[in-house]
Each structure stands twice: as structure tokens, then as C-alpha cells.
Point group: C3
Chain length 654, copies 3
């Protein structure tokens, strides 16, 4: 399917049933195709163990379906009911402070609890049996936002037991574990798997392989929890798409692994909600205060589309101010339309809004919606209706494979958090900064995971991929792509050791360098990089001393080892001995793209362009109009060559 | 009584008894009328259960009374003895981290503990029986600073049990609670009151009605604890005034409710101690470093005088550097006199100093006093003696009702903390900023609570009153006063819901507007307000989009919806769609006062003037002298028309 | 011994045994004399209770000794094995949050655990029996870095029991404790030692004598733990030097007391690791980013040499970037050599590097070493080899007694932390600032503790010594030295009371002043000091109002009590009524040195000079060359009169 489908999240249980029919009609009139329901309904459907109250939900589905809406049903496992918590308090999660997190909000369960897994299977089976073949129910969302409120890592007794079992499976013998973790260090040898504790509440930092294994274990628990429900849904709901709503900016579990069990990868997109807490400069935060960062929507769409093997939905789109960020400004008028088009341009098959009508009680009262709590249409409803009309002229298009891919793997992000060498290391943020740098040069992007097919790309970039397995290195080699390799790449083995040949380990041949020292620098250090025939640029934070016999195309400018290599270029790879940002990153990306024979379209800070099949898209995140270059091959479907402030143009390439 | 009475807090138990007689004589010689004693003496009086050592306290009271001093006795419940804690460890409070707070300082009890309430009643009865009719004991202070060290909210098992009982009383049925809390949200329904937990240690934020009810419950426990002692004292100490020392800047329980059970509302005033932690600018902190904010004393005097139905005492006045703020500077010479006169001007019947002689051991050694620890007189003693002489010429005067009142209700402050929409919302601080803005324009002020009589005022201001009940709205309507209504007013019902008609809910008719969107903005947003025929002013933090058919007298200047209404004026009310501060607030207040037909006396940053009956007062908080306008009707009792730096003038209006 | 000896920390257990022989040979070739081993080997040597695996360690010692290296053996008590923790979980320490700190890193034991003390004695006896008379083992290090990871204070049940016992010993009766603590304050009297709790998790601040006694108790436990092992080693390892590695910047226990049980005081020196977290200005942090603060090495060498009665070793010297600071920059090339020479100049007998080869697994992978993890020599190896050659020409020299001593006592530092009067008081840092100020004037320094011999000094400085006992005051009097006394000196008795005669208590006669008020000021206060015939200087933070009949040589410039005495000079003492820093401190030190008849050699920010016996040393911490004054009496052994950037000159005085 490649039309732009629209939808909304709906909580009929929060409104008088007399409103349901009218709500359904208004949804259809607004141009909506989808309605997502029921993701926190366990306590309503099963008010006590074994007693089910399906009637109201049956009725809701009937009304929505009769009105012409496709229903996305949710499994309700993100909010177990109080009676279940009281029966089995051991299902509750435990925080890094060792304290149990109780009932009273949501996500109050531990992924390691076998009891909860059993209960989740049971209730999922009930929901799936009842609605699996309901003709109106066309898709299923499993649970809700797995890593919300930091619940991926739980430090419960169940987690300890599960972790020990997982380690036994991984290592077989305790001797193997001792060897791999290097427990000879600080004399911390184990003689039995049952001696292993969770890596919290220690005197000093934990063994890094211990910490990495716990991150892996916790990620596996999420994958298993999701898979258990997916298996049930596949059995009882044949032909329906199964999805889950990932979050933006979330790296706590391996999304590639969970995505493998989904038909469509969904995610929740709140461009303003995530702006002020980001690492952008104050100047950029002011600039994008009411638009969100221009590459926020694109980054997550491209990432999750790649994980979804081309199938991606925005399951919650921001409609106005949210209620959970440190400050919650309004989007500029027009942005809801812009974000919706941007999602489509980057490959979304559907965009659903959170939520239909603003709540008038409980936690999320300040979260805006399509309608205000009094039922009057809010700004998002107007913009959504506009998109619903505009999409009519769209041809069928599929997002094409890009020429450039970013390698993103979750283990490297965990590894960098575990051994940062720097108290404020950006880690995951580096991927976003590189993505934005490439997008500002007009480059369309895919993401690849460590197990994905790497062939067919002209350029693969590795912003900060600490863990490179021998197999991955081999496939990078065989990919034939040029590689742009950021600092720290390959600096740890999969067991979290320093490679025998030092960093970049498995990439040594490709990169043609050896890292003989690393250092982290405070911002006050004030060092810079002189890039061949380009200029001198500041950098911050991380610097490597490298040895190479290849061409050095940039040098460090510093009182310390002035002139030591900052960028080295070999046949296949460009290696960066620092973490670039701003103008330095831009200059490097231009060099790399040129080297890879790829075109550059300068977009500046506010304009973004992309393509989906035959369609071209231009988005203006700025307060001033932007004019696209004259091009006779463009036939405009939406807008013109001059994109007004916060506006969108869509054209067909002749 | 309307003379200025003076007093001191005295800890005879900390000094050799050989000093007591001399201390008493020096107090009288200094001009003191009152001496407060005994508020931490439980462990001394009852060293083990049932064994009482009254002798030394009998002797102290005799010595003080014989010397001519009136004694204020305290109940000792702020510091239960160790043997009681060991007998009943369940009386200890529990912090928001779930950890018990132990013995070793003070206030180590939980307001929810029925055991402790019983013990508090028992010891109060003992004290009251012994000294209730003692002719020297003329007043009683109950306990000490209820909310000090954040002990109003305790998360003990007793609190949980008590809260459940309180909820049962409030709601009757669990269905009613589910309905009112909106537990259908996130499927968090309860089937029994015994399922309800305290709103801490959750995965995400608690249900806001749950949180508000816990604040109400906790406040009721303070009221009940205070009332239990007041009832005993009324029985055994007939004719004696009963008081408690509230703290400045404290909003954790409903002070109106506690004040209703007191004869006189007391409070503790530390103008420097609370300066550096305030939200003042660094420039103002430097300016007032050695004076305290000019309106600190006035705000609390006016607030607590209003709550005390005209009867208010300063029970602890700062005498020099304190020991508990982040930094503890000296007051400028003269400030102790100034503060004392300011308290009187704002309605105080007595001002008592903390403390007689600086401690030479234990926690508060750095807290200055009237005397140094070696017995020599410190600066405060000199200034106090001066006031004692100056007061001789005073006529009897009573503080008159003001023309302007500030509506302050504690539930709105809790509500704003629970649903802030902004991570740094000033909430309670807004009331202080408005008070200071009005005082700088020479306006005398009363405070009114939501149940108080509202008639007779020309102007009532609502800085941020989120919860407006139907009854309050009706009484505001009938008051005939003009209303200056700050943003968020009426935005929640008493059940913490969004009003059916949106904000300002019950005030919709009076205000003549509807709030269709709110947003919180970071400081870097840089938006402003253009006020009709006045100018353009910055504002920060909060902005509302409103609809109105009334007169718009100010508009927003912004890239977002430029020109949308910022201030709307109807027949009775002026509504502000933002939170003003600094020059914008000043301009608005001038507009509102003029509109209400009230005079404005520009005072600038350092001068403050006020009236009590026939007396006029001028206070100079600045380093330069201030000259009062020539006025033949002034007859100076203290000072002249030129007020020196840190000086005071008092005159009689002819 | 007064040659410069060199050594290294070695972890043979982390490398294949096939490397050991080659490692030993390379050490000898590099010029190393010492090799420290085995400090975390308990779990390897005794993998289960009573089963010992000595073979590999026997072999290591044989190889090292045969190669010509002297072995420093360590007792392994800093890392008890998992089986012991599982057997006796009560040996684990408890943090100030009340949570047990578990196994999985190091230092996971509580100094108060009698069980652990018994186990530590047992394993120490085993090690000592096996290697005590081994001819290659020439020295012993006890445990490792006692106060690392904040483990001196533990809040376990064992600590509570031990503290009660300790109090009983100290006070005899509970009445004496009540009297000394002043528990009459806040009515917190005890009737039995078993009622006393640890001073954490209270509602408000603890009684300061309670807190000070707990600091003393905890310090005593460290002393006892160390002494227990020292006693065993003295018995089984006759003639071997016993040491422990203190940390830099650590004041949590009384190092004088522990040092008394050691033959040589060792310490660990990481000049860059401790720079960014220090209180230096950002400008200085940038200046010294790659050198460390110029007086870091000197301060700790002089302090620990004084405690070691002339015998001091650097047991761990930084070789390159470390891995544990907030940022970890590289030292400038040359600094490893400079630090080594500086340690020698300040009295070190040996300098040992941490560590031989960079780890390739576990926690400290990013910590550099003499060799990289692949075995190639890193920068430190090159510089160390240079020093090894340069030392050949050295004569035997002993560091002479200095003319100036700094009085440093640990109880005063604890006292200042317990009753700071200021939320950001520098306390221990003041000693470092004064030291640096004196060193920049070319002054060589000793440190003296409160029980040390004070005679023979021309000037004794007391930067901030709150607790001055009568005996210490008497010995200061008899010392005949001039005294430079910083604010707060003598302001508390040993029982943490305000002295009867107010501050400076026992120093009143010597100082000739009385402190009648103290205040702490925020940085924005902007006050200054006018120093007689010198100038006006800013100061920050602390100010005292003093009375004196002596000569006032500096006054405060302030809107508050302008002209009040800032510095008073009597016959024997100069008293400072503020805490000076920067230019004010410099001017005061020049005045005091001149007054004491001592020479001043201006060194500026980057040059440092010192003497050891006949040898003179110049160190250049700056990026520009420094020229020493022409002096015919200098005969250069290393370098010349022009010291290059990061360079060293050593000369002999003819």
C-alpha cells in the first residue's frame, strides 16, 4: 500500500457512549482511515480475574467499523490491573535504586517476570480470540512503547534469576564466563552462575562485559515478550498486520530484533516534545522552537522504515503542545500538515494522530488532540483535513533504496554508554547529528543494522560503531561501498575487549590506521582540525592519536602533538580521529560524498528535500519562504516552487 | 491589643541555672514583654515514660514571671524523646524515597500516626494541666513549624491506612472514586479502597486527582493534629492565647484551615535566610543582600494577619546571620529595627526574636541571637532596645481593611505543582511577585482565602488560582470588586478536571473569555506583549490562546499567531493570557489600579510605605537616603521626612 | 636511601604466563628497580575457603626476582572474593542512602565488620607466612587506597554496634555523652549507649558532635584495620618496609594516625585526573589541561613525606590519560618525566608507575600504561627510560627541614564540613590554595599535624584549623615561629563547641583578637579588602567581624561596616578575618614572609623551584621556555639555565 493513510488514537472508554457514533462519523468526515483503540483496557475488560466485560468494546468496534473505519486493536499489557498486581506483586519492575515501582500509572511490569509473561499471553489470547477475525479489526498493536519510563532495564529478583539462566545459556561454563568477562581483574572470579548479581549498587563501576551482557539480556527479554504476543496474534488474527509503537530517540533495546517479529514497524513522533531536551544549541532551539528539529521526523522514519523492511507507520503524531516535556510550546500553524507529509515522504504508509479528543481528566489533560475536550476542532483537525484532501492527487509510489546508508547498531550504543571515557559523551546523539548533516546536503538515507544486507550502497557511514564483529567487517569489505568511519569504530570486540591489534580492530585493513591513544577533552580545551584545501574547524570532546601509512587529509591544530593525523583516507575508507560537529562535520561530509561520486544539494538550515519514487518533496521549516531551483521536470501536485513558511511542496518528476 | 510588644525565644535548659535570674533581669531591662520557652523539652520533662521532672521548668517560669515577663509556653511535640521512638518506631515519618527518617534531629514524627497523636495529646495534657492556669503563662504555642524539613507529606504505612479511610469518607463508594479520579484512564480502576496506594514510587506520574487528594489528606492531618492540642489547651488554659508558628514561604498545608483553630496566627520571619534561594534576579539579590527583599516581611505579615482575623505575631524574628541558608550574610545595621517596625506596621501585635543567647553547642551554634554565646550584647540587642524606647510614643492603632485583596488558596498551589505543564513553574512564587508589584505602587493589601468574605474590596487580584469552585465564583461575582485575573484561573475543577466549558471554567462569565490552548515556553523563546498605549514588554513561560468578544487591550508579539489577545478587559474583570513579571506586571497593575479608581504611590525599588490606623510608616531598604514628599498632615513620631539608609519613619496623620 | 628509584605496578595474572619472563626483562632494561604485585589476588589465590593456589604467584616472584627486580607484595584485602561475600554478606559496606553496596567491583567491605577484620587478618597471615622472608620481596603494601569510592564511612549494622562501643569507651557514661554532645538541644537526650544511631537519614541535620564522633570513629576503624595487618607483617616479614597507598585529595580519615603504623608513606598521584574536578578557574584548567596544576605533585609529596617522617614513595604515578575523570586528556610530552623528577625533588625515594601494560579487558581498559595493550611502548616508557639514565649522575641527598610549615589536621576539615555555614565551602581545598600561593613565591614547605614537633620553623601557617586543643595552642606558643592564622582558626573546641571566649578560642592570646560575628557571602556580594600600602583586593565567601587592640593592617571595603578590621597583626601572629585567594592571598603571603624574615623567589604561574639537600630543581609547567637567573653557584646535572617547555633542570649548589 503506498497511499497516505490517516488515522487517530481513540479512547472511547473515556467518553460517554452516547458520543461514540458521532465521533465515528466525524472521523470519517475528516478523512480518517484508521482508528487505534484499547491499549490500556485490561482493567476494564477483565475487572476481576476471569470475568470479562466485552460488551462495550464489541459495540465500539461495531460503530467504528460500520462508519467505515479500519480498527487497529491493541493488546492491553502495558497496564496490568490492580487485582493482578495485588495477586502477584512480583510482576512489578524494580528501578536502579533497588526500589519497586508500584501501581498507579502504567508500564508497571518487569520484562523478566515469567508470571507476567504467562498473564500477558493469557490476556492476549483472550483479546485475539475475540477480535482476531473481526472484519473491522485490520491490524494489531502489541503493548505500548516498550521502553517508556525507562522500564527496559529492571532490577528485580526475576531479572536476576533470568540473567543467570541467560548467562548459562550463553557461556555454558562458569570458566568461560570468567574468561570472557576477565574476572581475573580485581579478583572477581565466580565459581557458579548463581553467584552472579545484577550490575547495580556497587562500590565502583561494574565489569563492562557484565554490564553489556545485562543490556543484551534485557533486550532479549523485550524481544521475547513481544514475540510471545506476536505468535498468538498470528494464530488468531490471520492476515492482520502486527505492529508495535517504538519511541523516538530510544536505544535501550535492540529494535532490529523486535522489528523482525513485526509486519509493520510503528513509532510515535513528537517533534516538539523532544526538542528542548536534545543536544541542539540554544540558537537552534529558538529557531526550531515551533517546528521541531528539521530532521527529527526524517531520522525516525528512515530508521524504522529500514527496520520494517519498507513498512512503517507513525502510530502517534503530535497534534499540538504535548504535556510531558520540560516546556510545551505550540507548533507553528502548518506544522501538523508538514509533519504528516514528511512522514509520507520518508516512507510512512499511515500517519495516526494522538489523540482524537483532549482528555478532561487524569494524567494527560494538557496533551492536545484533534479536538479540544469540549469537542471543538483544534488546529490539528483543520490541517489534517487539508492533507486528507491533498492526498487525493497522489500516484502510488514506493520509497526507493538510498545510495547512502548509516550503520546503526544498538550494542555499540550500549558499549559507549558503559565505557564512555567521558562523563558527557553524546553516543546515540552522534547518529542523529550525522544524519542531519547529510540531510542538509540533500542526501536521502537508509539505515542498516549489523546483520542487514550492505550491498548496493555507494557510501556507508559509521558514526560511532564501537563493536564490529569479524562477520560485519567482512560484509563491509564485500559491500564495495566507500566507508566514512567515525572515531571509536571497532574499538571493542563483541566481548567488550580491546582488540589484539588495537582499534579499529576488525576494520584495521579497511581503514588503514591504528589508534595508539585516545583522549577526551573538556570544551575549554579549544583545539581544532585543519582540513586539506578547506579550512580550519573547531572540534570538541574526543581525539585519537593514530598511526597510518595512508593519505592524511586533515591534521590537528593543538599545542599537543600539533600536526598529528585527524583524517586519513585509504582506498575504501575515510577514518576520523575525532568526533566532528557543525562546520567540520559538514566539510567532511561534502568531502566524503564527493569522493563517493554522490550529488550534493545544499539545503541550508530550514529547507529539506527528499524523494519517494517519482515524487519529490520540499519542506520549509523556516519563517521565511524558500524557493526551489527552476526545474522543468517538476510538475507540482501540492504547492509551487516557492514554499511558504512552514509549507510543503510535492511534485512529480516528469 | 495594638501596642508593639516585644519578646524573645529562650532555652533555659541550655544554660546553667545560675544564669536564669540574670537573664530575666536583662530581658526586662531591654524592654521585652514576652518570653517563649519549652518547645523542645519533652525529653527533659519526661526522661522516661511517666516520670516527670517539672522542677526546673517550674523554677524557670517563676523566675521569668517574677521579673515581669509574660511567658509563652510551648507544647513539646516537635521533638519526641528517644525512648518513645524506640517504643513505637512506627511514629517516624517516611520520605518520598520510601526511607524512614530517624531520631537525631527534630520533627521525627508522622502526622498520620494515631499512636503519635495519642502520645501528643497525653503530653500536651500534662503540660496544660501543669501550667494552664499558671498566672505567668499568658499564651501557648502548639508544636513548632509544622512543615519544616518537608514533614507534612509522609509516606508511612500509617499514612496509607489513614489515606484510605479519608478517601472512604470523601467518596463513600469506590465507584465514586473511580469516576472522580477518572481511573478509566490507563485502566487503573480500583475495586476497593484498600487497593489504593500512596502516589509515590510509580513508573510514570500519578493520577492528578490521586495526588491532589493526598495533599488534601496530608493537610487535614496537620489540621487535626493542631486541633487536638488546641482543644486540650482551651480546656486547661482558659483565657490564654493559642498560637502556632507558621513558616514563611510555606504552602504545603492549608494554613487557613489551621489558622481557624488558633487565637493568634504566629509566624517565623527570616528575611535574609530566604533571599538567596528565592527567584529574584542576581541583581536584586546583590541589592538586597543585607536587607532581604523589601516585601518579604510585608507579604507574610499581611497573609498571616488576614488568616488570623487581624491577630498576628512574629514568633521568631531574624536577629543577625542565620546558619541554615546556602550563604548567611549579616543584615545591615539598622535592619533588625526596620523589620520590627515593618512587622508592627503590617499589623503585628508582638515581635519575638530568635533567640536570647547564641548557642554554644549542637546544631544551631552559628545562628546569631540578641546576645552572643559569651553573654555580650550583639547588634540585635542594641536595635531592639532602641525600638523599645521608640514605641513609647505610639498611640493605639488597628490595621484597617485594605482596598485591594489577593486571593490565595492552597489547593490551587498544589494543583499547579501537580499539573505544571512546565518543569520550572513558579506557582506559589507568583503570589509573592504580584504582592511586591502592588506594594511598589504604594498599595496596602489584604489576603483572602476561598471561604473568606470578599465584600468591601475595590479590587481583588487572582495571581494564579487554578481551582475556582462554583461558590467562590458566585461570591466573586457578588463582591462588586473589579477583578484582575491571572492566567490559569479556573482552569481546573475541584476534582482536578478540565471544566466542561474549558478554562476559566466558573469564571467564564466574569472574565468574558475562553482559553482554547495553553503552552509553556522556554526562556529563550523571546516573545512579548504589546499593551495598549503603554509599550511592548517581555514575558516568559506561559501563554494562552483565548477567544473573546470583549475588549482586547494587549496583544502578543510573536512569530506564532502574532496579535492574538494577551489581555482582555470586560465589565468586571481584566484577564491575562500570560504570566507577567517585571515591567509588564508593573504596567498591568497600574492599568488595573487606575481602572479600579485606586491611588498609586510610586515607591521605586527601595522605599516602602504603609498605614496602620492613623499611623503612617516609611521604610528605606536602600543604601541611599529617601525623601518623603512634603506633607503638612504628617507629624513624625519616629524619624523625619528624610529616611536614612535602612531607616524608618513613623508619623501620625493629622 | 636517597637515590631516585623507579618501579611499576604489574598484574601478571591478567596476561599469559608465557609473557612473564619477557616482561621482567623489559622492566629491567627500562631501568626499573621495583615491581608491585598482587593487590587484588585473593580470589585467585584462595578460590575457595582454605584451598590455596600459590603456584603461579611463586613463579611470578621467582621470575621477577631472578631478573633483578625488587618485589613489593600487597595484601589482597581490597577485594574479598565472592565466596566470602556469600558466606558473610554482613561484611559489605552500606552507603549513606542506607543501601548495601554489593560484590562486582572492589572495596566491597565495611571497616566496622569484625568478621571481615578476622578474615583480613587470616589472609594477610597466609600471604605474610608465604612471602614474608622471601628474599625478592622487599616491601609490602597493605590493602589499596582505603578511601577510594567513599568507603571510609559505612552505615552498616556493624558500624552502629562499633560506634556505640567506641562512644562507651570515649565517654564512660551516657550522662557524659549527653553533656558533651549537648543533647539538651532539641530534647534529644539518650539514656543508654544502645539508643545511639548513625547520623544519617534524619529529618534535619544531626548534632555536630555526633557527626564528628562518627567521623572519628570511622577514622579509627581504618587505623585499626591497617594496624592489624601491619602487626602481622612486622612479625612475618622482618626488615621489609611496610606501606600503603594514600590517595591525593583525600581527607576522610586521619592520615597521620595511619602513617604512624607505616614505615614509608605511599600515595597515588594522578595530576591530570584530579584537575578538571578541582576548584581552579576555567582559565587555569585550560592552562594546565595537559600538565596538571603545578603544585599538585608537590602538595601531596610534601604532605605525605611529612607524615612519613621523611620516607615517602609515589606508588602509582599517572603515565598518560586515565579513564576515571570527567574528561581524560593526554599529558603533554615530557610531563611524565617532569612529574617523576618533581616527586624526587620533594622527597620521594621511589616513583612507581601505574601500570606496566594497558589492560585489554574489564574496567580499566582506557587507563594508559608504560606499554600499550599490544605490548608496544607508550610515551611514558620513553620518558621513564630517560629519567632512568639521567639519575645516574645524582649524588645522595636528603630533603632538608623547611623554614615554613603548614598545619593540617583532619579533625578541622571534618568539622568544617559538618558545620560549614555555607553550602559550598572549600574546606580542604583551602590548604591546597595556600600551599600553591607559597610555592609560587619559591617557598619550600613542610606539613605538620597537631601532634607533631613545631619547633624550628620561622613561620607556621594555619589556613583553616577550626579545632585547636589547649595543648596545641601551647605548643604553637612555645614554637617561637611567627603564625599566619586563617579565618575560623580555633573557632571550635575538641567537643565541637563554641569556645567560652569565642573564636579563636585557645589562640586568643596569640592572635590578639576576638571574633564577634561571622558571615558567609555569595559570590555576587562583591566586597573587598584594603591592605595597608599595598592595594585593594577582592575576596569571597567568608567574613568575620573582629575586635582587637592590636595593629590593623587591612580593612574591609564594603557597604556593611566599612573599615572593620580584615587583618590584624600582633607580636607573634597575623590573623585574617576572611578567606583570601588569588592576588589578595599573594599579597598577604608576601607580607607574612617578609615579616618572618624569609626570602621570596617570584616564580610566576608556570615555574616551580625547590631544593633537596645540595640539589636545586626547576620545573617548567608552561608552553614557553623559562630562564633561571644567572647564578655561578649552580652546576647543572640535568638541563641548563633555560628550561624548555615542560622541562626540568637539576643543579648542584657549589
Amino acid at each position: 500500500m503506498s497511499r497516505l493513510e490517516l488515522g487517530v488514537c481513540y479512547y472511547p472508554e473515556q467518553w460517554d457512549k452516547s458520543q461514540w457514533r458521532d465521533d465515528a462519523k466525524r472521523m470519517v468526515d475528516m478523512g480518517l482511515d484508521w482508528v487505534r483503540i484499547a491499549e490500556f483496557t485490561w482493567g476494564l475488560i477483565e475487572p476481576e480475574r476471569g470475568r470479562f466485560e466485552w460488551g462495550w468494546l464489541d459495540e465500539v468496534i461495531g460503530i467504528l467499523g460500520d462508519a467505515g473505519l479500519r480498527v487497529m486493536m491493541s493488546t492491553p499489557t502495558a497496564a496490568p490491573p490492580k487485582w493482578l498486581v495485588d495477586d502477584c506483586p512480583e510482576i512489578l519492575p524494580v528501578g536502579p535504586d533497588g526500589r519497586v515501582r508500584g501501581f498507579g500509572s502504567r508500564r508497571h511490569y518487569c520484562f523478566s517476570s515469567d508470571i507476567y509473561l504467562t498473564e500477558a499471553r493469557r490476556i492476549t489470547t483472550e483479546y485475539a480470540r475475540r477480535y482476531g477475525e473481526n472484519p473491522f479489526v485490520r491490524a494489531w498493536q502489541i503493548d505500548n512503547e516498550y521502553n517508556d519510563h525507562d522500564t527496559v532495564l529492571s532490577y528485580s529478583n526475576a531479572a536476576r534469576t533470568g540473567f543467570r539462566r541467560w548467562l548459562q545459556d550463553r557461556y555454558g561454563t562458569i570458566e568461560a564466563l570468567n574468561r570472557t568477562w576477565g574476572t581475573v581483574f580485581w579478583g572477581s572470579l565466580y565459581s557458579d552462575f548463581d553467584q552472579i548479581e545484577l550490575p547495580i549498587s556497587l562500590v565502583a563501576s561494574p565489569n563492562p562485559t557484565h554490564a553489556l551482557d545485562f543490556a543484551r539480556y534485557s533486550s532479549d527479554r523485550v524481544r521475547d515478550f513481544n514475540r510471545a504476543q506476536a505468535d498468538i496474534l498470528r494464530r488468531f488474527a490471520p492476515g492482520r498486520d502486527i505492529t508495535h509503537n517504538f519511541m523516538a530517540g530510544s536505544f535501550e533495546f535492540d529494535h532490529h530484533a523486535v522489528a523482525a517479529d513485526l509486519d509493520v514497524v510503528g513509532f510515535d513522533s513528537y517533534p516538539l516534545g523532544n526538542l528542548l531536551g536534545s543536544s541542539l544549541s540554544d540558537e537552534d532551539k529558538r529557531r526550531y522552537l515551533r517546528t521541531g528539529a528539521p530532521d527529527y521526523q526524517g531520522f525516525h522514519c528512515d530508521l524504522y522504515r529500514s527496520q520494517g523492511r519498507g513498512r512503517m507507520w507513525v502510530l502517534e503524531q503530535q497534534p499540538g503542545p504535548v504535556d510531558w516535556a520540560e516546556k510545551n510550546p505550540s507548533p507553528a500553524d502548518g506544522m501538523v500538515r508538514l509533519w504528516t507529509w514528511a512522514a509520507f515522504a520518508h516512507g510512512a504508509q499511515a500517519v495516526m494522530f494522538f489523540r482524537w479528543r483532549q482528555a478532561k481528566f487524569a494524567q494527560e489533560q494538557f496533551h492536545t488532540a484533534l479536538l479540544r475536550s469540549d469537542g471543538s476542532p483544534d488546529q490539528a483537525a483543520l490541517e489534517l483535513a487539508q492533507v486528507a484532501k491533498e492526498r487525493a492527487a497522489l500516484p502510488e509510489v514506493t520509497r526507493q533504496k538510498a545510495a547512502v546508508a548509516i550503520l546503526l547498531d544498538y550494542e555499540s550504543i550500549w558499549a559507549a554508554d558503559i565505557l564512555p571515557h567521558d562523563d558527557a559523551f553524546p553516543n546515540a546523539g552522534i547518529f542523529r547529528v550525522w544524519y542531519a548533516g547529510l540531510r542538509a546536503l540533500g542526501v536521502d538515507l537508509d539505515f542498516v543494522g549489523p546483520d542487514d544486507d550492505l550491498t548496493g550502497y555507494s557510501l556507508i557511514v559509521l558514526p560511532q560503531n564501537m563493536i564490529i564483529s569479524p562477520d560485519l567487517a567482512k560484509r563491509l569489505h564485500h559491500s564495495q561501498a566507500k566507508l566514512l568511519i567515525g572515531a571509536r569504530a571497532g574499538s571493542k570486540t563483541v566481548d567488550m575487549w580491546t582488540p589484539e591489534n588495537l582499534a579499529p580492530g576488525e576494520l584495521a585493513d579497511l581503514a588503514g590506521i591504528k589508534v595508539i591513544r585516545v583522549e577526551s577533552l573538556p570544551d575549554l580545551a579549544g583545539e581544532s582540525v585543519s582540513l586539506e584545501s578547506t579550512g580550519t574547524f573547531d572540534f570538541k570532546g574526543w581525539r585519537e592519536v593514530i598511526e597510518t601509512e595512508n593519505q592524511v587529509i586533515a591534521h590537528f591544530v593543538s599545542a599537543y602533538r600539533a600536526g598529528s593525523p585527524a583524517i586519513v583516507q585509504s582506498d575504501r575508507a575515510m577514518y576520523l580521529a575525532m568526533i566532528p560537529n557543525g562546520p567540520l562535520l559538514r566539510a567532511i561530509l561534502i568531502k566524503a560524498l564527493t569522493w563517493a561520486g554522490l550529488p550534493i544539494r545544499e539545503c541550508g538550515p530550514d529547507l529539506r528535500v527528499t524523494q519517494r519514487g517519482d515524487l519529490g518533496f520540499g519542506f520549509n521549516f523556516g519563517a521565511a519562504a524558500q524557493v526551489l531551483p527552476d526545474d522543468e521536470n517538476r510538475q507540482y501536485i501540492v504547492g509551487t516552487s516557492e514554499i511558504p513558511s512552514y509549507g510543503v511542496s510535492v511534485w512529480k518528476w516528469k
